[in-house]
Amino acid sequence: MIIRNVRILGGEPVDIRVENGLIAAVTPAGAQPPAAGDQVVEGQGALALPGLVDLHTHLREPGREDAETVQTGTQSAARGGYTAVHAMANTSPVADTAGVVEQVWRLGHEFGHCDVHPVGAVTVGLEGRQLAELGAMADSAARVRVFSDDGKCVDDAVLMRRALEYVKAFDGVVAQHAQEPRLTGGAQMNEGQVSGRLGLTGWPAVAEEAIIARDCLLAAHVGSRLHVCHVSTAGSVEILRWAKSKGWDVTAEVTPHHLLLTDDLVEESPVGAYNPIYKVNPPLRTRADVEALREALADGTIDVVATDHAPHPVEDKETEWSAAAMGMVGLETALSVVQEAMVETGLLDWAGVADRMSAAPARIGRLSGQGQPLQVGSPANIVLYDPSVRTEVDPSAFASKSRNTPYEGMTLPGRVVATFLRGKPTVLEGKLV
């Protein structure tokens, strides 16, 4: 197969020859005419990036197949330009045994829209009392390396310490959902001016920052890797910057929505006040937080963009605010939002985007076949992206089973034209293959 006339990371136009799932040659556009029998994909000058890798996806299967399945979730990922996703453990049953993680891994493998790497729960049933069998999940066919109780914080300091220590045996990483539960009882949105006016229980920034500070210190003390999920505040950025300056092995992610949206939307938006489409955990913060997060992603203090794709059925969002589920879908809009927040603002170039959305998450998840630069010998995990168009977000076109996007009706830049997983197209001309 030959992919003609694409610009790797925005560079000069090239043709990419793919053989046996690997990149066999990269030559100046038009230099090598296609051979007879070649499948030809016309890139038409599109940007070529390494296939995106998501460290934080909720596929909902098993348990909430009404919201998403491994099939629809990975289709959604492919449409967003992803070639690998990490499936979070908060399913029903919880992915806290080798059996459940292998089931999710196999489903991903069968459908083949993108690689599925299950995340294992840190504690049994996400209950924060007893370590799950982390080693068994690591040794399973799913080869789990990322462990997280995401949705809940491992708030017990001793348990967190033990988890950080234990996963060293198989080069694992604990991905912490940083939320001090005692400071966030009944929390509904960012604690600040808007929550005060709206009479919604606040989720203070300190509840995130206190856990991040503690966990950085714990990781340093036991010499482990720590990954911080969905960082949302300016204060968290400062703590991470400090921890990294010490040389500690701490990484962090930010979601697309925390790079673009603010808590003002809960009070005033085109879809009305108190619309739970903006309800998410951690909550949308302030403009100052958004600015700090963008800067941190640009300078590498935050290593990756992770979607926290959280599908919910309509009825879980069409309610009063406090009854609504928390979360937003994000796979199919992530690259556009990152372009809007980071590229259009001049904070990141396309090489930077490739690092934050592909290379760095693959490195943290220890995925050897993902996140490689687009050069000869690399697996042909490629996304073709047209950054020049601006379109209105239309949730009815999503491959995801759920429609809970905060971007409905917004005009965002860019469009995923094609996605290739080890040379096999999963998306062509913007449509699933």
Binding site: Q188, E191, G192, Q193, S195, G196, R197, L198, G199, L200, T201, G202, P204, G272, A273, Y274, N275, E315, E318, T319, E320, W321, S322, A323
Partner: protein, 305 residues
């Protein structure tokens, strides 16, 4: 005026004064032996109460009936809501029944905003969670105006659990619009962290504020706050923030005492103070019916059949 009354902040000064002046006229009707007006004949008002509040419900019911509206009381207990029906389905049901106005009381902040996106009729917020209670603020303003003459430049002190109080939020907005100067007094734990951005003054010291107050409004302390570390004990709260006889004596002679009810006598307010002639607590209840008549009249009366 707006089609709905959801937040006191939706009311401009002209709107607010129109409601108060209309209430003044309607108050004269309440003094007649036949209290009924034909204004809303054939219109349907639904009282949709997801939270028990007999006082507010009967106040709205009396107001609607005095304007000859048909009133349907829909209480969440024992209805389809307790069987898991969503707010949206309830709203669509009421819509199908042809409700011209829905008066909603709900424990979730923002429920009236959501309701307003699903029904065509007017939505009147009768208290949503810890957000707002605009007709309470209107009746408070009406009561103050009747006692004090006007609100411009008047000093109103609101004391108690501001953090969880919908009455306080609505009063801060409305009284500000009407030109009064509001001071909130509470222990710091019962104030929103962002209270500094509100259009009012804030103090932790009740004794310092009392001598300068034209109105002192005491808020109810909810039982569930008493065991959640907002303050050490009921007695300590009462000593520092309760309006007892000694504090009452520090108020200017013509200053009035208000309370939205129901009161914890002996906790935030002493019985002698609540029952004094300078207390407006009973008037507030009567004024509640009048102000709700005015709101229903202005929201629905404009398009009478």
């Amino acid at each position: 005026m707006n089609r709905h009354l959801i937040s006191a902040g939706d009311l401009g000064k002209d709107d607010a004064l129109l409601i108060l002046d209309t209430a003044e006229e309607l108050a004269r009707v309440s003094e007649r032996s036949i209290k009924k007006l034909p204004t809303l004949r054939g219109r349907t008002v639904v009282n949709l109460f997801f939270e028990d509040s007999t006082r507010t419900r009967i106040s709205f019911e009396a107001a609607a009936k005095r304007l000859s509206a048909d009133v349907i009381n829909f209480s969440a207990k024992g209805s389809s809501v307790s069987k898991g029906e969503s707010l949206k389905d309830t709203a669509l049901t009421l819509e199908a029944m042809g409700a011209d106005a829905v008066v909603i009381r709900h424990s979730a902040s923002g429920a009236p905003h959501r309701l307003a996106t699903w029904v065509r009729g007017s939505v009147l917020n009768a208290g949503d969670g810890t957000h707002e209670h605009p007709t309470q603020a209107l009746l408070d303003a009406f009561s103050m105006r009747r006692r004090l003459g006007g609100l411009e430049g008047r000093k109103v002190t609101i004391v108690g659990d501001v953090l969880h109080s919908r009455v306080a939020r609505s009063n801060v907005l409305l009284l500000g619009t009407l030109g009064a100067e509001v001071t909130l007094v509470a222990p710091p734990t019962l104030l929103p962290v962002s209270v500094g951005s509100w259009p009012c003054e804030v103090s932790y010291d009740l004794d310092a504020v009392l001598p300068k107050s034209d109105v002192v409004m005491m808020l109810r302390v909810q039982k569930e706050r008493m065991n959640a570390a907002y303050f050490p004990s009921e007695r300590e709260y009462s000593r520092r923030y309760g309006l007892d006889r000694d504090r009452f004596a520090k108020m200017p002679d013509d200053a009035i005492v208000m309370h939205p009810g129901p009161m914890n006598r002996g906790m935030e307010i002493a019985a002698e103070v609540a029952d004094s002639p300078r207390s407006t607590i009973v008037e507030q209840v009567a004024n509640g019916v009048t102000i709700r008549m005015a709101v229903l009249y202005l929201l629905l009366g404009g398009e009478t059949a």
